[in-house]
């Protein structure tokens, strides 16, 4: 199915957000995730079912002032 991941359209097969991170080889110890504008906490990712067209945000720490 097609998802919008960090603003870019991508074809993926994963059924859940946790599996998506595996599929895309994210280092998921250091991530924050959102689906369609709502936070999905680390513990909720396995239960987060994905649907075609979902907008996924995957963020990580970076330098800030």
């Amino acid at each position: 199915m097609k998802l919008i991941i960090n603003g870019e359209s991508q074809e993926v097969t994963s059924a859940t957000l946790a599996l998506l991170l595996e599929e895309l080889a994210y280092d998921h110890d250091f991530l924050a995730t959102a689906r369609n504008g709502d936070l999905v906490t680390a513990e909720d990712r396995s239960a987060c079912q994905l649907q075609s067209g979902d907008r996924i945000e995957i963020l990580s720490p970076m330098q800030g002032g």
């Binding site: 280092d27 250091f30 924050a32 504008g37 945000e57 963020l59 720490p61 330098q63 800030g64 002032g65």
Partner: protein, 257 residues
Amino acid sequence: MLTLYGETVSSRLLLGTAQYPSPKVLGEAVKASGTQILTVSLRRETAGGGTGGQFWEMIRELGLRVLPNTAGCHSVREAVMTAKMARDLFGTDWIKLEVIGHHDSLQPDVFGLVEAARILSDDGFKVFPYTTEDAVVGEKLLEAGCEVLMPWCAPIGSARGPANPDALKSYRAHFPDTPLVVDAGLGRPSHAVQVLEFGFDAVLLNTAVAKAGDPVAMAKAFAGAVEAGRLAFEAIPLEPRDMAVPSTPVIGMAVFE
């Protein structure tokens, strides 16, 4: 000692982690500054090995408290969502709340700021709002649940130092019991001394250290500056006088006529 939301720290310098020439210089500057609070941010991660994990490992090894920010957010919705993601990622309910109102000046949108501060405070966040030196806005932020205020002294990254010293002094007088951190616009240690002498509790800076010719030495200079400024404030500085006043006693002068 300075207490922010019940947490006591001995350093009155909060330091940003961006724009250093290298991670090594960042680490050395942090140590030289003596800071106990580092600001961090979060951005989109690239698949298959971005740099966020490495950066976070390094920050965690420093063993300091982190203050995530919502830098770059221009709406209440963006800022609130970013704060929630930061809480999940960094494991802290502290948030440096920025709602930017103008692209060029990076001036806070104080209306959005107050609204976002209320939403986040109600949700259990401990909000550190980046605001202007407007005391009425400060009052609204306190009403919204903030227990710390962080007025700018000049635009972010401008290195200008206090653009409106009288307003900052009034702000301090208006909020005698609220921890006040001057956030943004500081360029030199003398600026930090100045606002600490006014009675501000701490400063938050980044660019002034990170973009200095020698960031590690500048971090050390700012550490000394905040200490000197605080000591001077506690020692009650002499107010300026209009006329000269001799410091050497004139009584008992010899007469040579």
